[in-house]
């Protein structure tokens, strides 16, 4: 029943006009100010001619940027096609191993092309033409362009990586919230809740004192359910009290069809246990064992010490395992008990659900936990 925590795929490049416009805007948002800054620096250093420098700078800068980006998407797409199950975290980043040489190549190529383009626009041999600046000047400007290109690529790289990390964290958060919600839903089962409220409504009219007592039990049950996920552990007596609240509510509902026996030895009262660990087991006894049984039956809750281990048992005299219609439950309750035990105690805790061995029949769930050494 539990959905596997799925990893959100990073947004795939869709080719709607709107998304292309957004992409171009994202690219230009970085490219335009950079080119303008370079043009400003050059015109200050070389003196005047800001407009000419700006045209060259835009032609060269955007050519380089276009080459780098085309390569980034192209190489990434090519690698994805060759190796569809690739380990690269982001589908649009082929890795520095590919990108470093590509950035150098793009810078030289984009530079030459951009300078040629600029020459076409304002006439070759203009004073601002970097190709006419001699080998030393050319090398200096080329190096500067390379520095800018590497910086810009790094900027895109970190932005992509940040988005991926965020998407992953979001997916994890969502999976955790979903589990939490299912847990809450399974505990605040609407059928149980509304039936309880219906009983309460009747009691208010005929027996206000008993209605008040029932309401107190309901409040105790709701509070424990809502707080169970927060507290790490509570004493065994609190655990038994909360389950007793629930069973008292069920006794009001089921009347003489439900008998309850609770046995908690005094020396075990303060042992810490995970909160509401037993709740799903008791609910299963009611829902799948006793509610479907015409004459009802009994639930027994027990605890005993086995050496350095604590054994908790939940037993019912209901119709027995596998007798309820297969579609009646989702198995979420049992899975949840197993998962919690595994997460908290690993191999050191055991959980068994079996048919009760005696003549009364029904089911018996048994949990064994290591007794924490800090407790006395």
């Amino acid at each position: 029943m539990l959905p596997a925590p799925t990893m959100l795929p990073p947004p795939a490049p869709s080719l709607s006009p709107a998304s292309v416009a957004v992409w171009i805007w994202h690219e230009l948002r970085l490219g335009l100010p950079l080119c303008t800054a370079v043009a400003l620096a050059l015109s200050l250093a070389a003196g005047g001619q800001f407009l000419a420098h700006l045209i060259y700078s835009l032609c060269i800068g955007l050519s380089i940027q276009f080459a780098i980006e085309a390569g980034r998407y192209g190489i990434a797409a090519w690698r994805r096609r060759r190796d569809p199950g690739g380990t690269e975290a982001n589908p649009h980043w082929p890795g520095w191993g590919w990108m470093a040489p590509w950035v150098v190549l793009s810078t030289v190529g984009g530079y030459l092309f951009g300078a040629y383009l600029g020459g076409l626009l304002i006439g070759a041999g203009h004073r601002a033409d970097p190709l006419s600046a001699g080998p030393r000047g050319l090398a200096a400007v080329m190096l500067m362009s390379l520095g800018v290109a590497v910086a810009a690529t790094y900027f895109f790289y970190s932005r992509v990586r940040l988005a991926t990390t965020e998407a992953r964290a979001e997916a994890t958060r969502r999976a955790a919230a979903e589990t939490q919600l299912m847990l809450l839903q399974s505990q605040l089962e609407p059928h149980m809740l509304f039936n309880t409220l219906a009983n309460l409504r009747v009691l208010i009219g005929i027996d206000p004192a008993r209605a008040q007592a029932m309401l107190d039990r309901l409040i105790g049950f709701l509070r424990a359910t809502l707080e169970a996920s927060r507290a790490g552990a509570h004493p065994l007596r609190a655990e038994f009290d909360r389950v007793a609240d629930y069973l008292a509510l069920m006794q009001v509902r089921m009347g003489p069809r439900l008998a309850v026996r609770i046995d908690l030895p005094d020396d075990l009262r303060d042992l810490p246990v995970p909160p509401l660990l037993l709740q799903p087991l008791v609910e299963n006894c009611i829902q799948h064992g006793l509610e479907p049984k015409l004459e009802g039956g009994r639930i027994e809750l027990g605890a005993r010490r086995l050496g350095d281990r604590l054994q908790l048992t939940v037993r019912d005299t209901g119709i027995g395992l596998g007798q309820a219609p297969a579609s009646a439950g989702t198995g979420f309750g049992l899975a949840q008990v197993r998962e919690r035990l595994a997460a908290l105690f690993g191999e050191r805790a055991t959980f068994v659900l079996e048919a009760a061995a005696d003549a009364e029949g029904g089911s018996r769930a048994r949990i064994e936990l290591p007794i924490a050494r800090t407790s006395t």
Partner: protein, 264 residues
Amino acid sequence: MNPTCLIAEDEPLLAAGLQAELERAWPGLRVVASVGDGASAVAQALALQPSVCFLDIRMPAMSGLEAAQALAEDWPEGTPLPLLVFVTAYDQYALPAFDAQAVDYLVKPVDGHRLAQCVARLKTRLAEREAGGTTSLDDTMARLRALLAAPSPAPAPRLEVIQAGVGHTIHMVPVAEVLYFEAADKYIRVVTAEREHLIRLSLRELLPQLDPLQFWQVHRGLVVRAAAISTAVKDESGKVFLTLRGRSERLVASRLYAHLFKGM
């Protein structure tokens, strides 16, 4: 004659509460029986023939819907079927079906306003019935059929082989050889041309695992291979008697499923 009603509710306080509220909302109504399970509801309703039945959906052993089905199938010819009102605390599957079929239902906790509306509707229907009966049995049957056919929450994979255990031996019975399944207490009789087996399962669990085109439910306790039926003969009460190829016994289809058998 004063209208009468039956209440089927497994929670004693809720049964008492509904009875008290009904007495307030419908002073003329006489509650003739209050029972805690589906089987008693069917038996008492057949015996006392109330005008209205309030049926809780979730009851031990037999649900309210199953009780309604049994009532419709076993109701004596010539007397009007009780008006049915389903009662439920929460049911994400049944309520949309109730709305779709314009079936009366109450949601627990039942508030006075909703109950008054429900009572008004029931009174109208009873008056219509007294005046000459516009609500035909066929109409009620069609609604019930639609409710019973409501999507099951968990579709199951198709069953290929039935494993019937006798002592230490397991008989493997291909579903393709089965002529019909008949419910018998906690068991199902699995009948082939040659012999029969018992399996410990309910029809409710088995049905989703069968191909509905091959196997037709013709009664709450009977599912028959359509291709194995050789003749179907209707009698006046609405029942249909079936003869099978390869078997001598006659099977009975209830009037709830009589619509399955009509000439092309």
